[in-house]
């Protein structure tokens, strides 16, 4: 197995996280380089995710590397029943690193175990999506000037939303205060509340969006999906209550920024887009620089075989 793989945000220490963010800032200043000249990166998307795939592929191409791969499982040999182990071995004989998205949880950890080249997890089911977490951190750092001592308000689907779970893990290095705002059905699981308690991270919980974020530095919105609800009446109610509107931001802090992993549905009203506090589109763009930093890191210091 290659130790350079990035499967889960918890694979990185605080120092490694900070060094990725440093390096991302360098790439933002100068995104076009030839540092991956001659390298081949495979993007294996066993489930489609155009947004993430284009971001990774652009990151590689702007550094002079080349891309091979597939964008959904129907066109891959796995549709003929090939095991993941065999696909990874076949691809690793062509590529210097593998970026992989897979619908099954744990697929990336397993791929990293059997692969002779580094594997970057671009999402394994509802489990991990570390490049998203790192771009969230980069966006927070860039807009607040620091990651330390911030109040972060997490809103929406806190039960199934993997981005918020990973964000809690990653922010635990930086002395945060959390506010969890979610409808009853989608409350933060105990596991993460226990994690906060064990790490002395203060948090509050509430079911109503209104006015709960006036002391927040970051408002992190997530998608509330219809299929998460057993009671569709409840979904309709929640959908309307959990829509962020411009007037709700009147008393918020001047430095507040609104993040969202995108795509959004109804949780942010389009009238917020023109507010200076809206940062979700720039956040998505930051993904490019962070992914350039990640690909460069996993390919750095590779043992010469």
């Amino acid at each position: 197995m290659s130790n350079n793989s990035l499967v889960s945000i918890s694979d990185y220490s605080k120092e490694e996280i900070l060094s990725i963010l440093d390096s991302a800032a360098d790439f933002e200043a100068n995104p076009n380089r030839k540092s991956l000249d001659g390298k081949v990166i495979a993007t294996l998307f066993f489930e489609p995710s155009t947004r993430t795939r284009l971001s990774f592929e652009t990151a590689v191409i702007r550094l002079g590397g080349s891309i091979i791969g597939f964008s959904d499982a129907a066109t891959s040999s796995s549709s003929k029943g090939e095991t993941l182990n065999d696909t990874i071995h076949m691809v690793s004989s062509y590529a210097d690193a593998i970026v992989m998205r897979h619908p099954l949880e744990g697929a990336a950890r397993y791929a990293a175990e059997v692969s002779p080249v580094p594997v970057i997890n671009a999402g394994d089911g509802a489990n991990q999506h570390p490049s998203q977490t790192l771009l969230d951190l980069y966006s927070i750092l860039k807009t607040q000037g620091t990651l330390e001592n911030l109040t972060i308000c997490l809103v929406g689907d806190l039960k199934y939303g993997r981005t918020v779970h990973s964000l809690i893990m990653a922010m635990s290095h930086f002395n945060p205060t959390f506010k969890f705002i979610a409808p009853e059905e989608l409350k933060m699981p105990d596991e993460y509340k226990v994690f906060c308690k064990n790490h002395n991270i203060p948090f509050t919980e509430s079911t109503e969006l209104t006015d709960n974020f006036n002391d927040a530095d970051i408002l992190y919105m997530t998608r509330v999906q219809k299929e998460r609800f057993q009671d569709l009446m409840e979904y309709e109610r929640v959908k309307n209550v959990y829509t962020l509107k411009n007037e709700m931001l009147e008393n918020s802090k001047a430095n507040l920024k609104i993040l969202h992993p995108l795509p959004r549905v109804t949780e942010i009203d389009p009238d917020v887009d023109s507010n200076d506090k809206a940062y979700y589109f720039q956040q998505a763009q930051n993904g490019l620089y962070v992914r350039q930093a990640i690909v460069s890191k996993v390919l750095a210091n590779m043992p010469i075989i």
């Binding site: 993941l84 099954l104 949880e105 744990g106 950890r109 397993y110 489990n127 991990q128 596991e191």
Partner: protein, 151 residues
């Protein structure tokens, strides 16, 4: 004549004592005693000062493999293993879970890679206060030790 139940003495083999009564047949199942050809003595609902009602298994001429004691440690962590040689207890082995359990446990997460591909399961053993939890190395889900499915 003595009224006490007399369980046949064992010359060589393994005695598993202090099995909670409701776990006895689970133990029978996971050790595959139903198809085991060795001499086996089962007893259940015996009086126990410690746990009220206990079960007991004696298996002649058989030592337990490590993955078998790992399974027992999950189902009945307070049971006691006695190794018998020539009618004497030569070793009392406490049941201890290792830091990592391989293969014997099935991940309860239906969308875990281990339930879809030929992947050996691996679980980290986490001890929180006096509760034991297992965490799947792959999908990272946690499950309470008493709720695990054993292969």
């Amino acid at each position: 004549m003595e009224k006490k139940l007399k369980v046949a003495a064992l010359k060589d083999g393994t005695v598993i004592d202090h099995i909670p009564s409701d776990k006895l047949f689970k133990v029978v199942h996971i050790l595959h005693l139903d198809t085991c050809k060795n001499q086996i003595t089962l007893a259940n609902n015996l009086e126990s000062k410690k746990i009220g009602s206990k079960g007991l298994v004696k298996i002649a001429d058989r030592a337990l493999a490590e993955n078998e004691t790992n399974k027992l440690a999950l189902i009945c962590p307070d049971a006691k293993i006695n190794i018998i040689r020539d009618f004497e207890v030569v070793e009392k082995r406490p049941l201890v879970l290792p830091d990592e359990i391989r293969e014997v446990v099935q991940c309860p997460n239906p969308v875990c890679i281990t339930n879809h591909q030929p992947v050996q399961t691996r679980f980290f053993v986490l001890k929180e206060n006096d509760k034991t939890k297992l965490k799947c190395r792959y999908c990272e889900r946690e499950v309470k030790a008493e709720e695990v499915r054993i292969k």
